[in-house]
């Protein structure tokens, strides 16, 4: 089983990368991996790193391959962050490390996951190191699109573009690795829209499926202003709870570690340095929680977009399957209700809310409220409220 086994639906990329690793053809000192979220950018980078360290070009069996894939290889550094951005200090450390000769015989490899989260300052600190690295240093940056990194960085890297894996590829992968039944794999593959991590979660976790069902049912529930407001509040609450369930445990562990490091016991004396260290830790935990919350909301919005996407596809009679095949009835209603223009406008509203939250730090609650009221069915100018639309929708559902 070679190191490329974990990459789904990326045959051309695998061919060129394994060629570079085994024959040296097209090998260079800096790589930029781009591709949609969940397509396996960092996995591709790590697989490539393993192939470079391996004597046999990525056999997946030897010590080198195994340690790289497990994240414990001495000459492969992976930089990931749980915060909103990677700052200049972190990058300076990295640059220092990149100047070291590898401990092993082959390469010193530095993989930056989430290179899109580097601040401008951090990018600039990276420039020189990427332009003229030492002989045996290889940089690998991962970002969703090339626009996410500075042009000066982009021009110094060889670009590797991953594609969105097809639903069939993903379903096949799920059956192969998780051993889930075919219909569940197909559902998860479709619903994840090519995001492999998401597909795995959907295929293996009931709670994740339930949360997604909740989100995709929002459009049919949006009939009145009150419903829109409570949908926004509910989405905000559930996503916060989900994010907290991930972070709370981690926070407690970190707190306990900090207490142990400073020798603090319950009700005991605390050293003078303890309070600032704890404040710093709490600050960090807070930004991490914020990012988690945003990530969770963002994913929910993508699920929501998929429903309207299906409605547009149905309205214009586009070929190909629906993402939410199981909701075909509701999607048809939605398609008749708003028409392709109306549903495109709704998709726009969702992306606007996303931009407000992620780019401009608008409170999640406010952005969601603004989005939900934009998703409401258009008001009949004579009728005053959405009553007429709701009634016709009910009629249609009764007929079906």
């Amino acid at each position: 089983m070679s190191v490329w086994h974990g990459l789904v639906g990326q045959r051309p990329v695998v061919t060129s990368l394994s060629g570079a690793a085994s024959t040296g053809h097209g090998m260079t000192h800096a790589w930029l991996f781009t591709g949609p979220p969940g397509s396996g950018r960092s996995n591709a980078a790590i697989a490539f790193a393993a192939a470079l360290q391996c004597e046999r070009g990525g056999c997946g069996e030897c010590h080198e391959c195994r340690t790289v894939l497990a994240g414990s290889h001495a000459d492969v550094g992976v930089i990931r962050t749980q915060r909103l951005s990677i700052g200049v200090d972190q990058v300076r450390d990295l640059v220092r490390r990149s100047a070291l000769a590898p401990a092993g015989r082959r390469w010193q490899i530095l993989v930056v996951e989430d290179a899109d989260r580097l601040t401008d300052q951090a990018f600039n600190a990276l420039l020189k190191a990427i332009e003229e690295p030492t002989d045996r240093t290889v940089w690998m940056l991962c970002a969703p699109t090339v626009e996410d990194v500075l042009p000066t960085i982009r021009s110094r890297c060889r670009l590797v573009t991953l594609t969105t894996p097809s639903a069939a590829d993903v379903a096949d992968f799920l059956v192969r690795t998780l051993g889930v039944p075919d219909d569940l794999a197909t559902y998860a593959a479709r619903a994840s829209q090519g995001h492999i991590g998401r597909a795995r979660a959907l295929a293996s976790d009931d709670a994740t499926r339930a949360r997604r069902r909740e989100v995709v049912s929002i459009p049919t529930r949006l009939r009145t202003l009150g419903a829109a407001m409570s949908a926004a509040a509910q989405l905000n609450e559930t996503s916060k709870a989900e994010a907290e369930s991930i972070t709370t445990e981690l926070d407690a562990v970190e707190r306990a570690d900090l207490d142990a490091a400073y020798g603090v016991v319950e009700r005991g004396r605390k050293p003078r340095e303890y309070a600032p260290a704890r404040a710093a830790l709490e600050r960090e935990q807070k930004t991490r929680a914020k990012r988690r919350h945003l990530d969770v909301v963002d994913r929910a919005l993508m699920d929501l977009v998929s429903v309207y996407r299906d409605a547009v596809a149905t309205a214009v009679g586009a070929p190909g399957g629906l993402v939410n095949e199981e909701l075909r009835e509701q999607v048809t209603t939605l398609a008749e209700d708003g028409g392709p223009e109306g549903n495109l406008r709704r998709i726009d509203a969702i992306f606007a809310a996303r931009e407000q939250m992620l780019e401009f730090n608008v409170p999640v609650m406010l952005a969601l409220e603004s989005m939900m009221v934009s998703l409401l069915p258009p008001v009949d100018p004579a009728g005053g409220s959405g009553g007429a639309g709701a009634a016709s929708a009910l009629r249609r559902r009764g007929n079906a």
Partner: protein, 350 residues
């Protein structure tokens, strides 16, 4: 023996200072401060300072030649304290004011306590604690000593400020109308020192006259503390001119633009949820359903009359856009906020 009596008297001074029915003119007598320790605590720095001045005045009253010195607790070693408290060549009466007691070095605390238990007769010591939890151990020990009198200033609530102003004016020999006092508080803000200065200024400008609202208005215009919530309340009630005026005051006095948009967001949210809430609920349940404090329900009931769901949806969108604009999507917060006020008042159906 006299501790209780003295304590009671001092308590009276302190409460009088706080509610300001009196001024520094009725301060402590020399016997209250000489040969004793006066411990000044509490958060109102202005009132604390006033106590210090009163003690000094009492000492001077006893002996016009008295030597008065100042020190900060951080530099207070036993040697310094001994030096300050010892009779000098020129005068036997002394007054020592020690500030920032919270910074007292640990090694000096024992010495200070020993001295406090047996102070010199002709010396008045004033210890001023700047507030906060630091040094509270020493404070508690000091409080237990019989020769120590504590004068504690309590923070004034906003509703007590007009009375404070009235007291200041009376102390300066002038009467002030209740409304005038309120107007002055609104114009000057909650800072006691500024309020006191303003009241005294008015009293000396209009010597012998009663200070009325017009007289306050002649010298003090405007608003020191305009709240973002007032802007939002006016806007959602459809009072466009009032909202714009309040917005200007808020921005001129340094209210952050994000506070204004968050007040608008809270306002729009309250209205939207209120209008969507089921009819015929009890007020307390309704408040919980809408997510606002109960007193807010009546305001919402008034405001909601001018709104339909299309208007509210538009308002919510406008607030979110404005919030993004303030945080970098736009370039001029003042323009953004004024446009927000105009948009919101426009969306309201009269």
């Amino acid at each position: 023996m006299g501790t209780i009596g003295v304590g009671a008297l001092w308590q009276a001074v302190a409460t009088m200072a706080a509610s300001s029915r009196s001024s520094a003119s009725r301060g402590p007598s020399p016997a209250d401060v000489l040969g004793r320790i006066t411990l000044v605590t509490g958060k109102e720095e202005f009132l604390n300072e006033r106590t210090v001045v009163a003690v000094r005045a009492a000492v001077r009253e006893h002996d016009a030649e008295a030597e008065i010195s100042e020190a900060t607790a951080s530099e207070l070693t036993m040697a310094v304290l001994g030096e300050l408290a010892a009779p000098s060549l020129f005068s036997t009466t002394r007054c020592v004011v020690v500030r920032a007691l919270e910074n007292l070095p640990e090694e000096s605390a024992a010495g200070l306590l020993t001295y406090a238990a047996d102070p010199a007769d002709d010396v008045a010591i004033v210890l001023v604690h700047g507030g906060g939890p630091k040094g509270s151990g020493t404070l508690n020990k000091l409080r237990k000593i019989a020769t120590v009198t504590e004068v504690k200033s309590t923070e004034l609530r906003a509703s007590e400020l007009p009375r404070f102003v009235a007291g200041e004016a009376r102390a300066a020999g002038a009467g002030i109308d209740e409304e005038a006092a309120e107007a002055l508080v609104q114009a000057v803000g909650g800072d006691l020192r500024s309020l006191s200065a303003a009241a005294r200024q008015l009293a000396s400008d209009f010597a012998g006259e009663r200070i009325s609202v017009e007289k306050v208005g002649r010298y003090f215009g405007g608003r020191a503390e305009a709240t973002s919530f007032a802007v939002a309340d006016h806007a959602f009630a459809g009072r466009r001119a009032k909202a714009l005026e309040e917005l200007r005051w808020a921005m001129d006095t340094g209210t952050a633009p994000v506070l204004v948009t968050s007040a608008f967001a809270a306002g729009a949210r309250g209205l939207a949820r209120f209008s969507g809430a089921p009819r015929g609920m009890r007020e307390a349940d309704l408040a919980r359903e809408v997510g606002v404090p109960p007193w807010k329900i009546r305001t919402l009931r008034d405001q909601v009359r001018g709104w339909d769901s299309t208007g509210l949806a538009g308002a919510i969108r406008a607030v979110a856009t404005a919030d993004a604009d303030i945080k970098g999507a736009g370039s001029d917060p003042a323009y953004t906020l004024e446009r927000l006020v105009l948009t919101v008042t426009e969306l309201r159906t009269r």
